[in-house]
Structure formats: C-alpha cells, structure tokens
C-alpha cells in the first residue's frame, strides 16, 4: 500500500537519496522516494501495514540517520 509522510529538515537531494537507501533496509518497504522539494516521503509497502506501528519504525530509522530530520504523519 502507498504511504506518504511529511519530512522536514531535508535540504539536500544527496541526503534524500541516502535516506532512501537507509529506509529501504526496513523490510516492509518495497520502494521509497524522499523528495526534498515537496518535503514528502512516498513509500510503497509490500503488504498492508498498521499505520501507527509503521510510522514508529520509520521514525526511528530517520532519527538514527540524522537527528535534525523530522518525520511527521500527515
């Protein structure tokens, strides 16, 4: 299923693609694209997921990657 989160503090497209690679390590994720211009992360998951749990998993990963980047549920 398609999941979109808002992402703040991502200013560089290089970081965006690095974050893509980092998030791909989460096993529920099929594809992910972080866009620093629209400030959105578009995720396609392999199966349907519980939105709250999934958000927590992604949030942890993002924080580990860079504590300045904030992930927000829409």
């Amino acid at each position: 299923m398609k999941v979109i989160f808002k992402i703040e503090g991502l200013d560089c497209p290089v970081c965006a693609s690095e974050l893509d690679n980092e998030l791909l390590k989460i096993k529920e994720i099929e594809t992910v694209k972080c866009d620093f211009l629209t400030q959105k992360v578009t995720i396609e998951t392999k199966n349907s997921v519980d939105l709250d749990d999934f958000f927590k998993i992604c949030l942890k990963r993002v924080k580990k990657f860079d504590s300045d980047i904030k992930l927000v549920k829409e």
Binding site: D11, P13, K33, T38, K40, D66, S67
Partner: protein, 615 residues
C-alpha cells in the same frame, strides 16, 4: 529563535573574543577557539562520524571537519573556527532560502482541503474529506473551500475557481450545477451532494499530479545528479594530488604545510551543493508557477520539451472551436418553407442526445402523440413518423443508406443535414461550430514566441477546415482525418529530427496522438482521467491563450536553470584555480561555495517573482 542560530551566534561571539584579545598564552588561546569550534560543530562531528560508519567518506561534513582540523594542526586556530563557522552560517542561510522558496511555490499550488462539513440529519459534523462517501450531503459556508466534487442541491452562489483554472472571474452556480473541488464559495452557504470520492476529485488529482511531477526528471537534472556523483571524488583526489605531489617535487620540509593548506581549500570547493539544490528548485518553481495559471505540467522533463517546441498541431473540434454546434443556415429545396423544415427537424432532434442535437431548440412544443417510431442511427441520422409521414434527417450517407436520392453539397459553413419527407429531400440545414473567443490573440502570442509552424488537423471536411484556417491564420491543414490518419500525419510531421512537435487536443478522443507527440497538451477536461493520464500538459482552464503562457514559463525556467549551472561551475573552477595558486583563502572558498548556492536558490525564486509581476 531556533537552536541552530543560537549556536552560531554564541560561537561567533567567542570567536571574536579570541580574535580581538589575541591571548599570548597558547593553551588559553587554544581553549577559546576550541570552545567556539565545538559549539557550532558538534552536530557536524556526529554526522560525519555516522557517515564514516556507513563508509561514506565523501560527505560534506567530513570534508569540512578535515579542512578545519587541518587548519588547527598548522596552528591557524582562528582559520579553523572561521571555516566551520562560515560553513554553518552558509548551511543555515541556504536552509532558510530553500524554505522561503518552498513556501512561495506552495502558495502557488493550492492546498489540500482539510475538512468537509458533513450533514447528517440536521446536524453538521466536521469530517475528514477522505471519509466522505458518494451521495453524502455537505454544507459549504461562505469563504470555505469545496472539498469534494459535488452537485448543488440547495442555494445559489458564485465561486472562485482560480485554483483549478487560474480563472479569476467568479463563476455563478445554481441547483443542479456540478462544482469541482478546490473552488472557493464566495457567496452565501450552499448545500451539495457529493458525486465522487475525495481522491477522485479534481483538486486531489491536480495536487497529486503536481506532487508526482518530481518523478519525471529533466535531462538537465539527470545530468546534474550524474555530475555530482563524479565531481566530489574527483576533486577529492585532486586535493590529495595537490597535497602530496608538489612537496615531493619541491622538497617536503618547507612546502608541505603550504600545499596541505591548498589541498584543504580544494576540499572545501568539492561540494556541488549549488548545482544539486538549485536546479531541481528552478524546475519545481516552473511547475508551481505554471500551475498558478491553470497549466498543469506533469514533470520537469516536459518543461524542457515545452521550451523547445517549434511546431504545434491543433485538433479542430473542441480545441480551436467551442465544440458547441449552432444552426448556420436553413435551405429549402422544395415548396416546404424554411420555418417548417426547421420545425420538423427540431421535433426529430428533441429525441436525440447526440451533440449535434444541441443546436436545435429542445423546448419546442408539439403533440408528442403524433410522433412515433423514432429511430437513431448514431453518426448518420435520425428518423420518425410525424402524423403518419416518415421523415429522415441526417448526412447524405444516411440518405443513401435509406435509399433516398441525395445531393453532395460541399459547404464551408459546417456539416450538412438533409431532411427528407418520405423518400424525397425537401431541404437541408447547415450545422456549424464556433471558434473559441481568443484564438487570434492566442495564435499571435504563439508566433511571438518564434513558433512559426502551426498545423490544423480535423475529421471535418476540407471546406470547413480551410475556411477556419484562413480566418485564424494557420496555413497547413489535414482534413477528413480518421483517427489512424491523424496518427500517421503526426508522425509525418515529426519526421524532421529538428522538430519538437506539440499536439493540442481534448484529451479524450485523441489519446494515441497525444501519447505519440513530443508534447501532448490537453485542453480543459480536468475531470477526465484519460486526459490526465495520457497528456503531458493539462490546460485546466481550457483557454488557448495558456499555450503561449506555458511555453513562456518553460523557457524562463530553462533560462534560470542554465544561469545557475554556468554561474556555479564558473565560480567553482575559478575557486579551484585560485586555490591551487595559493590566492584563495579557506574561508573565501566556503563563502564562494555557500554563497553560490544561496544566490542560485534566490535566482530560482526570480521566476516566481517575475510571473507575479506580469499578472
């Protein structure tokens, strides 16, 4: 005031203290500068460390750290702090400028409706738009945005539809009218019934189109991404060369620190930030600006193509013409009067739903019991018995099919409908389409953009096509086109390698041609899924003038992107040369790097400002 700014200011103050006091006790001096250094850099150190763990060695943060620590190592404490301080200030300013640009662009693109006033019984419940079902009743108060496509069930009002079409004139609506989401209710409260789900409504489609427009990267952006991948490692290697080769040649002891310094400056220059940030931003700004005018461009790839267009092929019906048929002339070929011919035809057409029937008076009063056996042969004609006399109304092919001797009158005013009583033609009616209002100005604007090759393509006959083409000033025509002919002739027009061909149509009946052309532009039809799916540009306001506007915006966007590329590259190259010659200081190098990015971002904002002014 945010934490980053506080840290920067604090660090700057301590730095200034250190510079002004110039304490001779070396370790006190060191502590002061180290304090200034760590206050502003501790986050950078953490990030650099994390990246090393991930084996990312060409990270900006790491490079800045190496450069500044290097400065400390050769006892240039102030310089070391200055490097990291300027870098942080630069990053901060860049972030602010980017935020400002994003906000400016988002203001152009309309915001998602965040709530709907759902009426249940006599109560109104504020609901999330995505949870509203088809057929639900909503209330739209004055000043509120319509969240979902719906039909008016109670009340009358007028709407601001500019977020859908860029059209600033208010649109009147009454009971039974369909209104699209994204419009704003300017008048009194109305009650409506939803006809689609939120995600299928116009505003959702437009927003998702714009948000996904970043997927279709332009060639420029693809190139920049590749360039950045190679640029940083190459400059890093050059830095290593600069650090070690000259000292090896000239003798290590006295020259090593000089060349190490220069190598460090090299490292500072090695970040291609200005390019990777400002170029996508310029394209994003272009898409956002265009959307303000009701021109929806599906990706930066299409901005590039749109800017290069040198030939435009127009479909006639619905694109150049209004697609609304009108009676142009009634001619009698017998002793039956024109009025009677028109009256009989209107009676017959009142039973039809075909677009051509709209030209006739649907409110005509007649005794329905007198009309029996109505038959419609779609695309050919209709017939019925009125007071036991059979009449046929349709094209000459329809007449032939019904074994009625027909004429083949070539009329430039429009399509000819023959009326026959029993088996004899008694007269004919000419149905024509009207040109859209702004055609001549629109084409003039297009010529002004140096696009000289305009072509008209239509299924109508040559006489109609020719007369319209003459009136508006298009010299090349393809008439009598079946769908497969249109495709063939499009490909013929695209054969020349230098041609970049745009096709303008309604997006519903000409999908293959839209897809095949270099740029497929569909007019209006924001509600149509096929138009959005298969065209590259959707002109939501159905206004021919928008074609020239869209091309203008595309060209300005490309111009600004090119300016940013040239500016950034030149400054980088000059910085590299100067640093090798030892002329460039480290902090000047940072200034050049970050300042360039900052200026490039501001340049991308120019497009939005300029388009705001011309409005």
């Amino acid at each position: 005031m945010d934490k980053k700014l506080i840290r920067i200011i604090l660090s700057s103050l301590i730095f200034l203290v250190g510079v002004i006091l110039q304490i001779k006790i070396w370790w006190v001096n060191l502590i002061i500068f180290l304090a200034a250094y760590f206050i502003v850099s501790f986050k950078i150190i953490i990030k650099a460390f994390k990246n090393i763990m991930r084996c990312k060695f060409f990270d900006e943060n790491l490079l800045m750290l190496i450069a500044s620590i290097g400065a400390f190592c050769i006892n240039e404490y102030a310089e070391g702090v200055l490097v990291i301080l300027l870098y942080s200030i630069g990053e901060y300013l860049q972030s602010k400028a980017l935020k400002k640009s994003r906000n400016a662009i988002s203001m152009l693109m309309k915001m998602k409706p965040s709530y709907a006033n759902l009426k249940i019984g006599n109560e109104i419940k504020i609901t999330e738009p995505s949870k509203v079902e088809i057929g639900n009743v909503l209330i739209i108060k004055k000043g509120e945005k319509i969240p979902i496509d719906c039909i008016v069930t109670k009340g009358e009002s007028f709407l601001d539809i500019s977020s859908l079409t860029g059209e600033s004139m208010p649109k009147n609506v009454k009971i039974g009218d369909e209104i699209l989401s994204g419009s704003i209710n300017l008048g009194e409260m109305i009650e409506v019934k939803t006809i689609r789900k939120f995600e299928d409504s116009a505003i959702s489609k437009i927003l998702s189109l714009i948000e996904n427009s970043n997927q279709k990267k332009s060639n420029t952006e693809k190139f920049i991404t590749k360039f950045a991948k190679y640029y940083t490692p190459i400059v890093f290697m050059l830095a290593v060369v600069v650090a070690f080769i000259p000292p090896l040649i000239l003798g290590f002891s006295n020259t090593f620190s000089t060349w190490l310094y220069r190598a460090l400056v090299f490292l500072v220059v090695s970040c291609p930030c200005a390019l990777v940030i400002s170029i996508p931003l310029s394209f994003f700004g272009g898409i956002g600006t265009a959307s303000k005018y009701g021109i929806l461009i599906k990706g930066s790839e299409y901005i590039e193509k749109l800017a290069k267009v040198n030939k435009i092929i127009f479909d006639k019906t619905g694109t150049l013409t209004k697609g609304m048929f009108k009676i142009k002339k009634v001619v009698s070929l017998s002793d039956v009067t024109e009025e009677e011919i028109l009256r009989i035809s209107s009676i017959l057409e009142s039973f039809s739903d075909h677009p051509i029937s709209k030209a006739f008076d649907k409110t005509i009063i007649f005794d329905k019991s007198q009309v029996v056996n109505y038959k419609e042969n779609i695309g050919y004609g209709i017939s019925a018995e009125i007071r036991n006399v059979r009449y046929y109304l349709g094209s000459n092919k329809f007449m032939e099919k019904n074994k009625i001797k027909s004429y083949d009158i070539k009329e430039k005013l429009g399509t000819v409908l023959y009326l026959s009583k029993q088996k004899r033609i008694i007269g004919y009616i000419i149905i024509g389409d009207e040109l859209k209002d702004n055609i001549k100005i629109a084409l003039k604007n297009i010529y002004e953009q140096n696009i000289n090759e305009l072509v008209m393509i239509t299924g109508d006959n040559f006489e109609i096509a020719h007369s319209i083409a003459n009136e508006i000033g298009i010299s090349k025509i393809y008439a009598n086109q079946l769908p497969e002919d249109k495709l063939k002739n499009l490909e013929k027009e695209m054969k020349d390698k230098k041609s970049v061909v745009a096709y303008v149509g309604d997006g519903v009946n000409d999908v293959p041609v839209l897809v095949r052309s270099d740029i497929g532009i569909s007019m209006g039809n924001i509600g149509s899924d096929s138009a959005i799916e298969f065209s590259d540009v959707v002109i939501a306001n159905d206004d021919i003038l928008s074609i020239a506007t869209g091309i203008k915006i595309a060209r300005k966007t490309i111009k600004i992107a090119k300016q940013n590329i040239i500016f950034s590259l030149c400054v980088k190259i000059i910085a590299i040369i100067l640093s090798t010659m030892g002329i460039l200081n480290m902090w000047l190098a940072i200034f050049a790097d970050v300042g360039v990015t900052f200026l490039a971002i501001l340049n991308s904002l120019r497009l939005i400002k300029r388009m705001n002014n011309t409005q």
